[in-house]
Point group: C2
Chain length 217, copies 2
DNA sequence: GAATTTCCGTGACCAAAATCACAAAAGGAT
DNA sequence: ATCCTTTTGTGATTTTGGTCACGGAAATTC
């Protein structure tokens, strides 16, 4: 079973109070950020966006809490509002990171989501994290509902695939130092927010190697 | 400019003769193979499939002929009917392969296709190859035409992304020998059809290393 | 079928990265 | 402030994979 805590359903006409006094404003801001992000892929009209938002649940995770544990598959996708999420696989007892998701990105594990096989991978909060959770079930319902959501899904996938191809070719083709430079130039936010230890496996390097590369600069 | 030779438009009611006497049969077979492949992602009705087929052009490439040259972007996608296609990027004057496409797969370079920036990569026929070519323009028209095509696109992208994630994590996380074993167990057709030289860069290894790994087994 | 190109195997050597070990630094919790 | 955990830096050593060089096999061309 997936983690389920702090699920709070809400729509555009629902007031949702966070723990602080600015709850309403914060909620409105998150809503707006989500909409702006979606708009970059496919513009939804007010009704459609409302439908989307209505099936999103706000969730909070503390550091080292799992969004998805290997073995599960019915998890859906997470729109990260704050914090950071890592995707890793346990190999020889070591956490090998394959992706990271920061603010305004969709954390996901696509294989189990689309094929319904138990995931071999884990989604883990690497710091205290908040997110909108869209369950697989609700996602599929949206796809049935309108072509706008299909298009949104397609465009989002195109974007994700482009990013995956990029990091993939970096690891396939570049030397360790060049891989580090790639991060520095193209994904500086990862260098700021994600511990070196995790970034090393992401780049296909030993932690010590990455540390030394950074030292001699 | 993209390569354009042997373009032959045809629909379900058009007779298309290949050079041999079995042209009609061969054509019908290719048509069926395409339909079966598409059906695995999203089932199209007869009208829709006909629309799809009508905008496909049959093309033939000899070994070492380019389907897409770096610098271009208006190429579309290719459904490989026979032969093999490699996706590579020139790095330090060396062809670094990032993907291979065999029979019944869609050869593509997604970045330039979706963002309209000149491609840094190349699609190259690694053996004599035949394919259906769907241009970017016609692909976009299909997407506009019906939600069935949107869904087809989405599902195809999900499939491609799952494959990309897999090879990506193999190169990020596994040692050279394990990478070879991955190919042997999961992509045996690549080992059969693609020269070791090209596979080496795909696995992030030197050619000699891959040759030695194979030797000691 | 001879010639040319492409592809693969292999030895010797070297450079680079992994591993091991430990300590220092930074960050969180109480 | 103190303790504990997490994260990072760094030296010493080992291992491995890269590079260079060459020859042979296999495939393609003419």
């Amino acid at each position: 079973m997936d983690c389920d805590h702090n699920h709070k359903s809400f729509g555009s006409n629902t007031i949702f109070l966070l723990e602080n006094l600015n709850g309403k404003e914060l909620y409105a801001e998150n809503e707006m950020i989500l909409r702006n992000t979606l708009d970059k892929f496919n513009v939804l009209n007010d009704t459609e966006f409302s439908e989307f938002l209505n099936v999103c649940k706000y969730e909070a995770f503390s550091k080292r809490e799992f969004l998805l544990k290997s073995g599960n598959y019915n998890h859906g996708i997470y729109f990260v509002l704050s914090g950071s999420v890592g995707l890793f696989e346990l190999i020889d007892g070591k956490e090998m990171y394959q992706n990271f998701f920061l603010k305004n990105e969709f954390a996901h594990e696509l294989k189990s989501l689309t094929t319904q096989v138990p995931s071999t991978k884990n989604l883990l909060a690497l710091s205290d994290t908040t997110a909108f959770h869209l369950s697989r079930k609700e996602l599929l319902k949206l796809y049935e509902k309108s072509a706008s959501f299909e298009r949104l899904g397609r465009k989002l996938l195109e974007h994700i695939l482009n990013g995956q191809n990029e990091i993939s070719s970096v690891v396939q083709s570049l030397k360790p130092e060049e891989r580090y430079l790639y991060l520095e130039n193209n994904r500086p936010n990862l260098l700021n927010t994600i511990p070196l230890t995790y970034l090393a496996s992401y780049l296909g390097l030993a932690r010590e190697t990455l540390s030394r590369i950074r030292a001699r600069k």
